[in-house]
Amino acid sequence: MHRLLPLLVAVPLLGAALLAALGRVLPRVVAESVGCAVSAGTAALAVVLLPHSSPPLVEWAGGWEPVRGYGVGIVLVGDGPGLGMAALVSLLTLAALAYSWRSFDEPPHGHTGAFPALMLLFQAGMCGFAIAGDLFNAFVWFELMGVVAYALTGHRVEEARAVQGALTFAIVNSLGGYALLMGIALLYARTGELAMAEIGRGLDAGGPPDALVLAGFVLVLTGLLVKAAAVPFHFWLPDAHAVAPTPVCMLLSGVMVQLGVFGVWRIHGTVFSGPGGLPAGDVERVLMVLGAVTAAIGALMCWYQRHIKRLLAYSTIAHTGLFLLGVGTLTPEGDDGVALYVIGHAGVKAALFACTGILLDRFGSVDEHVLHGRAGALRGVAVMFAAAALGLAGLPPFGTALGKSVTEEAVGGPLTVLYVVVSAVTAGAVLRVAARVFLGLGPRPREARGEDAYETTGNGEEPETEQRLVRVPDTMTAVPALLLAGALAAGAVPGFADAVARAMSEATTAGLVHTSVHWTPVGIVLGLVSTLLAVGLAAVAVTRPELLAPPARALPLRRLQSGHVGDYVAWLLVGTTVLGVLALPAVLTG
């Protein structure tokens, strides 16, 4: 079975090459069917391989197995988390392609196959990153997903904002890529190895960490956290999400950002967790501080948005913070919880973007204030939007709720409160949108007196379909419904959570430490508390908007999101330095 691992990358790549070669002559429906079939085939392969991942599948590309412990080849690791991510990526790509089926803007003349081909390339890059066991190989797929994502983000080139968003995305993420590459170079210089496990062994042989290991850690982490959109590396994400086509947003927010967190988990666990890496306490400090700040800022900014796509983008940032907190505990419980949370979150967040896409194509706007009361006729969409919001808050039995409750127990103390509040605030913002847009509740928001130059309205967005939709196609409503069902099943299907926990323990401790994951009374109560808090916040915001309106104090925070690439680059440099300072005690005491 392990021989089939590279096909997770090769199959979508072959599909993309085929679509690009024949794109000029293929009719649109054929191109889109091929795209769906290939991504579905890859998803099926990942799902078939998953049960065989214990013990993890290990494949040396080209058959270059190490001889007497020394290898020259590239190793692919098909353990539960890696294959699980590949399956999640593939299923979500399939959902995005199905969603864009006949609804998306007419493809450019002579490039019928271009959009599905790019989506397949995106899928291949993400799958390759998920199963990479070699640090440089991980970087290659990391770059592939970046390059494709920039192009997909700027797909609607007629709009200046789309080009600007894609350019910002490209510049900031390329700098992250350079940081990652520099980090890899440093680690290679020290150990002469590129396979993650071998680098880890090489570092351990070199004794306690020194400045080079610290720099390697900080640079690798910078690259991954840029992708994961952790504060202060996050500025590209809202700008890109606001302009990217809806199916692309589903992938960006649903899995690509989470792959950054996955990379942190994977690389820390295999490279830096030994005695030659960084001491656990220092890694914990780095991830906890960054996670907490990311969660808080993401939630706050999410609450103050009226552009629905930007609002969802900030909610993704907030959740990235929560994931980082869970990973930062460096405990099996934290890992299990985050794994489940990521699965549930992917379904819920992609469904929210899918519903927002329907609003955009139907009304030509994604502005909460402009759409006030206009979407009352879309009952099904309203129900899905609200259900997804409750899933975001962590209402049992959604997968998000189970993952959240497990992680909450792992982080413990005041961070549990942060978990509850952050999920409640982001979900409250989404519920507020639902109440205003679909139900028309509350007074129609007045336009602010002195128009705030830093507030992005969601008005004047072009629908992605050729004309505004009169009737919503079935595929566009079926996809979010299925995604929500998936998120629900992740929490409700008995045995699923335990299977995830078993896969995680197999990957980290070879199955020695097995934690059981299940609903606990405390977890259920906390989930209900954050749901009630979210509903309460939304109710207050709708009925008494002035109570929760952004105070003048929040303005400087909003001004940071200036759209100026130079600012974002400056923050990236500051972020790298902050990472270095937070991890510095590892070298000083060691």
């Binding site: 096909l7 790549l13 690009a20 271009a114 190989n137 770059e143 440099l573 270095g580």
Partner: protein, 261 residues
């Protein structure tokens, strides 16, 4: 953020990063040491498979899976550029004007063109023997075609490089690399395994098993990709004008675009 704050932030962050890098570089292995763990192993593996150029063996055999990623990054970048540089609804095409070229330039370009093209193909073909290979040779070959643009004009260039076939060639070369990889898997071994073909005699064109095949696929992919990429940018510079512009350009269309690679 005002420029001053930004400068201050860049200075702080940059200083921190610089300090980190300097501290790290002081701990790097000394220059000119005799410890090359990967290099020693790679050379041995390369010789075992009769590949004279170890770099080619690393690129197209030992770490061929990385090269697949690099190849598809270029492929994706070109596809993405074609989508982003497409002629949008508010743009139209204005046929390029014939351009006058100084006679010495014309003579030089037409003289050098076949030489450059041949050099490119040579560099590709000898990838497994001497420094060079698909990536480098592909760029040389693609650049050679563009001497026609310098020596004649844009219309002459357009005649020798119809975009459609080059786009198809780009995709087919990528497929060829993948198919070779899958053949290794079906042939009883692993994906991209170099065990199907005989390794041949050391230091000959046919040596190295699948290395020359993968190298040729990369050469074709890179050449097609660079042609398509330059065409996309040149089209924007020379032919495509925004609605409302009069279609006349001040220059003679000789904007010199650098390849993105």
């Amino acid at each position: 953020m005002n420029p001053r704050t930004r400068l201050w932030l860049v200075a702080t962050g940059g200083a921190g990063l610089a300090a980190l890098l300097v501290a790290a570089c002081l701990r790097l292995p000394d220059f000119g040491g005799d410890r090359h763990p990967y290099g020693d192993r790679a050379v041995r593996a390369s010789l075992e498979r009769h590949v004279a150029n170890t770099v080619a063996s690393v690129n197209f055999d030992q770490r061929a899976f990385d090269t697949l990623g690099e190849l598809t990054i270029l492929f994706a970048a070109v596809l993405g550029c074609m989508v982003l540089l497409r002629q949008t609804r508010d743009e139209h095409r204005a046929p390029p004007e014939p351009a006058d070229v100084a006679l010495p330039v014309r003579r030089y370009a037409l003289l050098v063109l076949p030489v450059a093209l041949l050099t490119g193909l040579y560099v590709v073909a000898h990838g497994q023997l001497s420094p060079g290979g698909g990536f480098q040779g592909g760029v040389v070959a693609a650049t050679a075609l563009h001497l026609l643009y310098l020596g004649a004009d844009y219309r002459a260039l357009e005649r020798v490089r119809p975009i459609g076939p080059y786009e198809a060639g780009d995709a087919l070369a990528t497929s060829a690399y993948l198919v070779t990889g899958v053949a290794g898997l079906i042939g009883g071994s692993a994906f991209l395994a170099n065990t199907l073909l005989p390794y041949g005699m050391f230091n000959t064109l046919a040596s190295g098993g699948t290395v020359p095949l993968l190298n040729a696929a990369v050469g074709m992919e890179v050449a097609c990709a660079v042609v398509v990429l330059l065409a996309g940018f040149l089209d924007q510079a020379v032919e495509i004008v925004e609605e409302g512009e009069d279609g006349e350009r001040d220059d003679d269309g000789h904007d010199h675009e650098e390849p993105g690679k």
